[in-house]
């Protein structure tokens, strides 16, 4: 190292490389795989060998085969439900957090985020043991006399997936809603009071609309994470809880039909991109984007 080693010349020398990397890394690790998937979706498989001749057969199969579209729609409805339930639970929680004094507010927020530090698989196992036929939930319901014998309502089916995904993803809903609520200037609420609004009116006319960007972000987060998940349905869904993610997984795994799996992935990616765009569109504050 020479004595002139001020950071400027070093930065100057490295900055083109940094710029290239900043564009190249996402291109290599995000766009390229997506492009490869897109290309593969136009190939086909013959006796375990991929045939590299362009064809629309995979997409034709997806749209015409009676198996795939119903599962596709059912999965979308499931994930929309997960998003809706997560928000219904997360909103009051986030609202409650913003009513707390500064120190308690962040302490409690951190506590709510702790589950994110745990392994996903461990959490699923834990929830599975709660939901099972002899699980904690059934035992508790029986012990409380609410039901007389263990219910199968939430054992290895769609409901189990719904409950598990909601539990797993709710922190992702709390955070954006909390941030949106916290960003609302308190003086706006006082102005609303001052103009004669009741507490409920202030909430419905000021707080709720101003927190909608957070709700939209939360919904798109949860939806996207839920629809991309194949592990949770695999582990708590049983036979009846069949989701699109599981079909996808089986195409790459057991069926070993990568081109068809790629075509299904593209269909899923379209939904995900639409969800992200919708979240982005409604995630902006009204009145500022004109």
């Amino acid at each position: 190292m020479s004595g002139t080693g001020s950071p400027q010349p070093l930065n100057g020398r490295w900055s083109p490389l940094v710029t290239v990397l900043a564009f190249a890394l996402p291109a290599i690790f995000v766009l390229a795989p997506l492009a490869i998937f897109l290309v593969y979706s136009f190939f086909s498989v013959d006796q375990g060998q991929i045939v590299y001749a362009p064809t629309l057969a995979n997409y034709a199969r997806f749209f015409t085969d009676p198996v795939f579209l119903p599962v596709f729609w059912r999965t979308i409805v499931l994930c929309l439900s997960v998003a809706a339930i997560s928000i219904l639970l997360a909103y009051p929680t986030a609202y409650f957090l913003t009513t707390l004094e500064g120190r308690w507010r962040y302490a409690l927020l951190m506590l709510l985020m702790v589950p994110l530090l745990m392994s996903y698989v461990i959490k699923i196992y834990a929830i599975r043991s709660i939901l099972g036929l002899n699980g904690f939930l059934n035992k508790a319901l029986v012990a409380l006399g609410i039901i007389t014998e263990p219910s199968t309502l939430f054992v290895f089916n769609m409901n189990a997936i719904l409950l598990t995904l909601t539990l797993l993803l709710i922190p992702f809903a709390i955070l954006p809603i909390f941030l949106a609520l916290e960003r609302i200037p308190q003086v706006l609420l006082r102005a609303s009071d001052d103009l004669g609004a009741t507490g409920l009116q202030t909430f419905l006319r000021i707080t709720l609309p101003l927190s909608m960007p957070g709700v939209a972000s939360a919904a798109s987060f949860v939806f996207v994470l839920a629809i991309g998940d194949f592990l949770t349905p695999q582990m708590v869904g049983g036979i009846s809880g069949f989701t699109f993610g599981r079909i996808l997984y089986s195409q790459f795994g057991t069926a070993f039909n990568w081109p068809f799996g790629a075509a299904l992935s593209v269909a899923l990616a379209v939904v995900v991109i639409l969800a992200i765009l919708a979240g982005e569109r409604f995630g902006r504050n009204r009145g500022t984007s004109h």
Partner: protein, 366 residues
Amino acid sequence: MNQNSDLLTLRSVSKSYGTVPVLYGIDLAIRDGEFLTVLGPSGSGKTTVLRLIGGLEPLTSGEIRLDGQDISGMPINRRPFNTVFQDYALFPHLTVAGNVGYGLSVRHVPRKEISRRVAEALELVQLGRFADRFPAQLSGGQRQRVALARALICQPRLVLLDEPLAALDLELRRQMQEFLKSIQREVKTTFLFVTHDQEEAIGMADRICVMQAGHIRQLGTPHELYYKPNCEFVARFFGENNLVAGTLGEVRGEFRAIETALGRLVCSVNGQPHLKAAAAGASGFAAFRPEALHFAGDGDADNRLSGTIADLAFAGSSTVATITAGGDVAHRLRLRFPSRVDGSALRVGETVALSFAPHEGHLVLA
């Protein structure tokens, strides 16, 4: 509306945050239809007064009466007052019309009437064409006017204005001062305006209430405050002033002498009996405005002073001379005189004779 009847009275109102008192037993009567400015430096408690009246915070003790009825416990949304907030507090997701009509719409006024009254209110503040804009699309002055229209539309008994001009630049602030005053005359609603800017206070207020350290120091018209300050704080805070400390001497009719380091000065006690009544030897100040002080001629017998010009500052229509007077304890006096087109013959360092007429000086007790 009757200018002389009291709309709102504060009776020994105190406020403490925890153990820290910010208001000490304030008494204040706000007259119906007046433009009252509460003026004070930061920390004087002026904003607290506004917040207590608006119902944003509870009183520690005392009472607030509206038309003679105690409203101390009335919740904020039931008080017939509206506030223009310092940073306007416009609702960003509502249009101008939505913001202005908010107070009516939460009271379930029929839609037709709301749009009629919103149009009227926007016409009043000259924003008729902006009804469909969002606050983010408006300039600072326009937002200010939206906030004013929003506060006026519910026909409040009292409009509370919390330093609403602080965020505007000087030129716009001047325009808004005139605008506020003209609107207030037009709607004849009582305005309670809080500011730390005495120039703003002089320009707009019918009466000014000067506050300091949680006390009201003086309440009166701008003219009274300027020419008859009742204490050292008001004399120093309100407008530029020369104060020379001394001990009170004998009373001569409507005048009284004060012995100072600069010699014996004679000042008016006109209209302030407590100045006549104060014991001889009590400490006080001779106070005289820079424009009352002038370069002495042969005819000036009273209140002759001499000093050295330390600085000459040209300020457009007038020029301000800073003069060092006195021996051991140097007094810095300011003298304001009309500027002349051919410039002043005065030079820094020159020794000059000064004087002010006894009726233009006043006494202030220490």
